[in-house]
Amino acid sequence: MGVVTPQIAHFEAPLSLSCGQSLANYCLAYETYGTLNTERSNAILICHALSGNHHIAGTYADDPRQIGWWDNMVGPGKPVDTNRFYVIGVNNLGGCHGSTGPSSINPSTDRPWGAAFPFVTVQDWVHAQAGLADHLGIERFAAVMGGSLGAMQAMQWSLSYPDRLAHALVIAAAPKLSTQNIGFNEVARQAIVTDPDFYGGDFYAHSVIPRRGLRLARMLGHITYLSDDAMREKFGRELLSGQHRFSLEVEFEIESYLRYQGDKFSERFDANTYLIMTKALDYFDPAAEIGGGDLSRALSHAKASFLVASFTSDWRFSPARSREIVKALLDNRLPVSYAEIDAPQGHDAFLMDHPDYQQLVAAYLNRVAEECA
């Protein structure tokens, strides 16, 4: 993809949020790749997952090592082919990589929002993204796509703005979190809020970050994003020093990996953003929201064509959850294809190279490109 430059869009009209509050003004960080055609019909919006952001592909001039999180999927000649599509990545509201969020300055106090930042939902994100689409002059997306929490946004797009997208690519998704999933999120949140450096969310004023909490949250997350097999394959029971040392220092390879991931994450991610994003995940439930508890009824609002994909070893968002979505789409006679990719990596598989997966997305988007050419 080469070097890309993030941009900021400022919005001065207030945005009402699902929680009842509203943001008087806000900004969204975004990146674009490829060229918008004259008909403005070849735009694809890519929504990010829990810890992602707008940097989907390419690198930064001042930081060539910072490669976009879906660089293997998005770029010239890649499944999301930027020679044919105009691709947009956006950091969600509440984020910590340039969009307005808890670490931004609250104009009414001139201090970081911290715990005062309102809770946002998947619907709020989608409304904000629609504002960005307006800003960029895109009336209708050729496709909206994402994995995990990103896939939930793609689904929400088909419900909130059924006429503004032709296709939704819903990858490694669930129609709502399971109780177990909410449980994992709550452990992660408790790790953060009980960190003495959290200061009730206002740690910015104390010039600290709740590093220990973020580390634990991320370590837990990583365990659930991988399959048991993938972890065994990757780390086994290997010992760093080759023998038991009867110590609480890092001994097993897996410990080293988790600590490394936790440390890295705590450097780059805002604790309040993590809390808000996991809550948005927990709250997502279109069936309850607009279907009276029935997913098929909820999806009767959708008009898009769908590609749904899951991964066999994903136990966090298992294939059975994707099949619930497919069933509801079939009940509504909506065009849908569903693939269950035989991948060993667990939930993280949606970010990884897999020939079937990449060919599937390429084949689907090739049709989309022909439609909007």
Partner: protein
């Protein structure tokens, strides 16, 4: 350009009402559904479990759902399709009877095609002491997906056993209709079946 399809698929296409809804079980690369979309204006979905076939369907714009047919059709509602097709797939299924029942639950009508094991050339090979290998049955006995081969008579017996009615039968030999001694002279059979009322 319309995709090219097999003789039994062409015969099946004749039975598909224009504008109807079609579920094609074991749809392969989606050629039949693609053909029906172009020529019968159908709304269709395929079911397929081979990744390469799933990708081939997606590539040609055919809706395809990747599930294992052996696990049944629980993702599909009762009576949600006008036609449910099972072409050249029955012989590879473990649960042949329950799949036929599922077809008639999900569809108003089932269309089933299969290679006729009673075809004289097959009988001749068995008489000669070998399991048949032919264009319709190209696999060696030890390396074949075809685990439940049957004759016309066998299939009709199974239909009555599960309470399915045969509405129509077409037997082909090299793509031509066979009326006389079909169980001996036909290499492929196509049935329209419905739930007995």
């Amino acid at each position: 350009m319309s995709p090219s399809i097999r003789a039994d698929q062409a015969a099946i296409a004749e039975w598909i009402r224009p504008g109807s809804s079609v579920l094609d079980l074991g749809c392969g690369d989606g050629a039949l559904l693609d053909y029906l979309k172009d020529n019968r204006d159908i709304r269709g979905y395929g079911v397929e479990n081979q990744p390469a076939n799933v990708i081939a369907c997606v590539a040609r714009g055919v809706n395809v759902i990747q599930i294992d047919l052996e696990a049944g059709l629980s993702g599909f509602d009762n009576g949600s399709f006008d036609h449910v097709i099972l072409s050249q797939t029955l012989q590879a299924m473990h649960n042949s009877a329950s799949l036929l029942r599922e077809m008639l639950r999900v569809g108003r009508e089932g269309i089933v095609s299969f290679p006729n094991f009673g075809f004289w050339k097959n009988r001749l090979q068995v008489l000669g002491g070998h399991m048949p290998v032919s264009d319709d049955l190209p696999f060696s006995w030890h390396d074949t997906p075809n685990i439940h081969l049957c004759t016309l008579t066998d299939f009709e017996d199974l239909c009555s056993e599960i309470g399915a009615s045969v509405k129509k039968r077409l037997v082909l030999n090299e793509g031509k209709t066979v009326d006389f001694m079909p169980n001996l002279r036909g290499n492929v059979a196509i049935y329209r079946i419905g739930a007995q009322t």
